[in-house]
Amino acid sequence: MNHYAIGIGGTGAKCIEALIHLSAAGLMPKGELYVLFVDPDKGNGNIDRAAITLQRYIDLKRIQLGAVDFLKTNISEAKPNVWSPFENEAQPTLDKFFQYNELRESNKAATHLFDVLYSPSEKATTLEKGFRGHPSIGAAVMAETVRLGQGEPWGTFRNRIIQDIRGGTGARIFLFGSIFGGTGASGFPTIATLIRKELAELQQNNQNVPQQENMKLGGMLAMPYFSFLYESQDTEMKAKSENFLINTHTGLKYYYHKTYSNIYDAIYSCGDETQSLVSTASLGGNTQKNEPHFVELYAALSAITFFSEKDPSGFNLIARKQLNQLDWIDLPDGKVGTAIKQKIGQLTRFAFSYLSVYYPMLKAIRENERAYRAPWFIDFFARENISLNNTQTSLDDLKAFCEDFLLWVANLHNSAKEEKINLINWNAFAHVVKEKDGKEKVKLLPSFRLKDFGNLILPSGKEKPNELSRLWEMVCDSKVRDSNSVGIGKFIHALYRESYLKE
């Protein structure tokens, strides 16, 4: 089964970012993952961050790791990876997009309808930074521009799905979007409807396209989970968090009346009634870079549930055991209930140890430090004739990926300040820094708290201050007999395997 994830808008991009991290932890089921971002605001900071994480994942995937959970899933990104309905328009507006002036000459009735549906400011406001919290604009634009058969990346997207259905591999498509904003709220129903419709049409016109049984469509509809402040005198048309609940109410009514089940096989929904304040309120562009939030972890897990289940269906909601608290037990974790903790825990331990011990050691050896200090270096590098100079880029990419992951984890915990998130002891590797502009930002500690390594995964239980030493010894003893593990892949394989969380 191949999987397709489409992140619509800023929230969609952040959910994709979460999905990439969970894929890195090996939580995805078998099959390839194809990722596409949809946003009129191509320079959106949230997309930027997710796209960078994705690119690092893809670069690291070139390392032959062998049979290990880390980076297990093959992820490919659409080309171009971000699709915007305004490809050729530098400063698009709704009236330019629908050629309002020309329409006024040729079709008065349509012009009047247009005037009834959209206010003058909605028609005239530039949309290069998104639909500004107005899904009615986005829905019209998306419906007019998404064409599965024409142009990229939709052409390749369609062909891959048809190939998966024909070949019997099967395809699962999952859309992430918010119900309360502009881009996500407009794209979520519109793009899904277009995908359904186009595939149905293809099927009617072409006998070779088999039934859609092999294709399932799911989506994560994010309910409000954050808010932001803005100047009260600001009259510019933009998304306002005070409207989130009204937007959500209207959106849910729409799905109720439209019988979502005609479009989606399964919808997952999640939000947080404590709407945490994001540090950056931005209209769009590169400055719209909101911190990761634990709701996005749920969103990514819902995609994984959808991809994994035999027959996903219905409108799925989830609840926590205790209000204002989140424990491992609250995460949707199949029947066993330990896989998520185990795999996220293993990746956290791996990233922590790589950044705090192994990468600095490799750096020191490259700068002429004595190699005998690190027996694992002699086993995995010197004896394999692997030069540190030739592998520096991969080691640096891994460092950057681990930093991204730990920052993502730390932000999940810091995202909802009034809630207690008991997953990882993030204070061991990150802290909150007040920047010059007064805003708080989560940053990695210059020196990690090494003694806390053994108690990274909560609940911490008995103190294990020498866990890093135990890991060092295990890596020194480690042998990788996997023929698909090659070059520095052997070292990463060994370190990842030994970072396994023993309960």
């Binding site: 011990v357 005998y372 200090r373 002699i378 060092w472 010894e473 003893d477």
Partner: protein, 155 residues
């Protein structure tokens, strides 16, 4: 299990040195080569050699076991910055060296062949510690002994 194997390995290396000293150095080499000083029988001189050579080997065994116990169970590599212990490994040579010197000093000077006995004291004491640690150091420091990476291929 690994730790037991390592400690057994250290004991076996020391035992091999002891057996070599007893049956090769003493019985085959020195008994045909040494002329003891006046008033001392060859067998008495050889017993004295055996005593000091055994003491030297035992000192090496003690140094090897101390090295193993300290760096397996007491010193922890929670930080890569503290993983360089070669100086300490070298300093553990002091223990066999002391007993080598005592052996050389207290073994009566023979008419001929004393230098061979002294050479055996030195070789037994130093090589016993070297091979025991080069082959069976704690995994985290397995290549700390000089040139250990050339011949240690196991856990």
């Amino acid at each position: 299990m690994k730790y037991v194997a390592h400690i057994l390995g250290i004991i076996i290396v020391s035992s091999v040195f002891y057996l070599f000293m007893n049956y090769v150095e003493k019985d085959l080499v020195l008994s045909g080569y040494v002329i003891p000083p006046a008033g001392i029988l060859l067998s008495q001189w050889l017993d004295s050699f055996k005593f000091w050579a055994s003491t030297g080997i035992f000192a090496s065994l003690t140094a090897s076991l101390l090295w193993y116990i300290i760096f397996q169970w007491i010193v922890k590599v929670n930080d890569s910055a503290i993983s360089d212990k070669r100086i300490i490994w070298l300093s553990f040579f002091i223990l066999p060296v002391i007993f080598i010197m005592l052996g050389i000093f207290y073994t009566k000077q023979a008419e001929a062949g004393s230098w061979v006995a002294n050479l055996f004291y030195v070789l037994n004491g130093l090589f016993c510690y070297y091979f025991a640690t080069a082959l069976f150091s704690p995994s985290s420091f397995k290549y700390t002994p000089l040139w250990a990476s050339k011949f240690r291929w196991w856990k």
